[in-house]
Symmetry: C2
Subunit: 405 residues, 2 copies
């Protein structure tokens, strides 16, 4: 996977030349001295990173990483538009290059011709996950699944085109924000001949070590968010997430929706009102009929005077289906932009869900929520995109090969 | 320090009412049930956070926290403009409220009437540090130090007013991004009657656990940044940082400058050229005349043909003074905004330095860098602000009391 001729215009000696460098104009002699001493310094002081920063997630495999991977603290989502001239051979070149970048960076190695190789040394569980939009599939001359394209229009949507859709998605996630920044730069530099950035969204969850592993995340409303989620490594997860069809076998789909949360209006609601709107306690995420987060909600339970304990309009009831096929795997991130002036917050959720079939699994849930979910009072979707996520690849292969090779 | 009447319009029972809540319109009966069960759930499932998220930095003391504190992974800088009506009594009210918020939140307790109390449970070494601008001091009827105001104009500056100056600074820093987001919201809600947000800048360093404690940070150029820095807890640090004058005794000053870094042009420079421009190796930050980061640079060393090994125009040489008074304590953060379209990066450094006297310590260094520093080729200051940082306070007191009480 390191054959240099796969990277347009770069030879195998490029990185070495780069690291040891020629002279910058006007400082030739000093630069030559610097080059030699730099080599000695590298040899003399290896600086092993401590365990967590060194941690890696395997890149190669039947599925792409970053899906069944425990969600890292920082997630960057970048959607690109293909340039007009990016045809099938160009798509293949691009995906080979990006696969090579991702394979190296996720293992803590610099990308080929990495301009800041030292920033690659702490992968911190970096994963890079690729998704493709309908135009990508068309140009690759593949058959797009029926669900690949914009979601049906929902009544709650106030979508902005500059936060929606796209031809290629990069999900870049790690437990360190500098690692994410460096990986994003290296990957985007290598897309420059093929595509431009359409939108970019940066999100966070709790930092590694803040809470115990396995703790369900909280969103900026303070809610425990993501309790009902298939568990990676179980047959249940595999059934919900992995596709078995055509070039997408071993792959999946991802829905990325930017959902603004009106914290100012939410704060005017009292605590019980908030718990009613979700159907769960804020304290620990337990359903209003239970005491622990993973207790099964009792939708039949009523109060002394006959009202349902978990209201009809609560999020947890509206999201639940009797049909076991209508399930998704959520892997969302919070966002918090800083407004100026009178605004206090410009915050929300980058809702991210993986599922084998968008129409069969995601859409029915969203339709129910769209029709009646009290949370709609304080939330508004402003961005929406759907991508097909190709399967992983083996060493020597590349992501997208089932579509392009 | 918890006397409720210091918070305008809030009584001591507010938080309890808030937590246990009345009914939201239309769901009265169910809400009442929810309230009782919520109490039981809180009692049944205390969820102690693991060590790092639980970690706190003392709030009260002779100096404000967040200066000598090991720099946390995430730093948010918010500058506010005072409203016209915010007079001396209002400033006192505001600073009492903000002090109370900060004292609670930094210890992992909800602010009074915290709208999302669960988000306060993991302080993750949160600190809140307050700075005041010239207009704040005027309205407080204090005597402003000579250096409090905009810095002298430097030739390299391309300052944007909307990223510069301000009347009140909040530096909110923690090892967890959700903790920072929550603290910012609670604090800014309590400034709403007194001020509006002028600018806001969000930065990051390596996450806790990515590299070994004590490792000097790297900026997005890949440079080791901050090697020559006084060490907190030493007499040297105390001399550089803490003021001894007037109401500022035990306080200091902070310079916050947003410095754009042109990564695309930087990447066109070869490795030796980069090392020449800084005067240090990229690999480990050692001076070009040494092998280890903290080796003393030998500015007299020359190459075989007589050129200085550390060039005249290098950053490390220009930043160094023969005058031991010309030293500062740096505590900077990286930023990385995501551009759309052809841009790859919109990145740089939130340069933050603390020093007892801006004119005596910071300005001479910046003058030398302004006149001749090769790094100026790839960097451009776009924001600049100076604040006086009052001393800390004891329990029962408030930050700013030496100016306002």
């Amino acid at each position: 996977m390191s054959a240099p001729d796969r990277r347009t215009g770069r030879s195998g000696s490029t990185r070495r030349q780069f690291l040891l460098g020629g002279a910058v104009a006007g400082v030739g002699a000093a630069a030559a001295v610097g080059g030699d001493a730099a080599l000695r310094a590298v040899a003399a002081e290896p600086a092993p990173a401590p365990p967590h920063g060194e941690g890696t997630v395997p890149f190669f495999g039947p599925h792409q990483a970053g899906i069944a991977t425990d969600a890292q603290a920082h997630g960057l989502f970048v959607a690109l538009d293909l340039l007009d001239g990016t045809d099938r051979p160009a798509l293949t070149r691009m995906m080979r290059i990006l696969t090579d970048d991702a394979a190296r960076l996720t293992q803590g190695e610099p990308a080929l011709a990495d301009s800041e190789p030292e920033l690659a040394a702490a992968p911190a569980h970096l994963t890079v996950t690729f998704g493709v939009g309908p135009r990508f599939v068309d140009r690759a001359r593949g058959r797009a699944p029926d669900w690949l394209g914009p979601l049906p229009a929902f009544g709650v949507d106030r979508l902005r085109p500059e936060l929606s859709d796209g031809d290629l998605l990069l999900q870049i996630a790690a437990d360190d924000p500098l690692t994410v920044a460096h990986a994003a730069r290296m990957l985007l530099k290598d897309t420059r001949s093929f595509a431009t950035v359409r939108w970019s969204q940066q999100g966070f969850r709790r930092a590694h070590g803040t809470v115990r592993p396995g703790t369900t995340m909280r969103n900026l409303f303070g809610q425990v968010d993501g309790t009902v989620n298939p568990v990676p490594g179980t047959p249940d997860f595999d059934e919900v997430v992995w596709s078995t069809r055509d070039w997408l076998a071993g792959g999946t789909s991802v829905v990325v929706r930017r959902i603004g949360m009106d914290l100012d209006r939410w704060d005017r609601l009292d605590r019980s009102g908030r718990e009613q709107s979700v159907g769960r306690y804020l304290s620990n995420g337990a359903p209003l009929t239970g005491t622990r987060e993973h207790d099964e909600p009792d939708f039949a339970a009523t109060t002394e005077i006959g009202f349902p304990v978990i209201p009809e309009f609560s999020h947890v009831r509206r999201a639940r289906s009797e049909d076991p096929a209508e399930r998704i795997f959520r892997r969302s991130y919070n966002y918090d932009d800083r407004p100026v002036g009178d605004g206090i917050s410009l915050s929300g959720l980058i809702f991210v869900s993986y599922q084998a079939d968008v129409d069969r699994q995601f859409v029915p849930i969203q339709r129910r929520l769209d029709r009646l979910d009290l949370l709609n009072e304080w939330t508004v979707p402003v961005g929406s995109a759907v991508f097909a996520v190709p399967p992983g690849c083996a060493e020597g292969g590349f992501v997208g090969e089932t579509l392009l090779a």
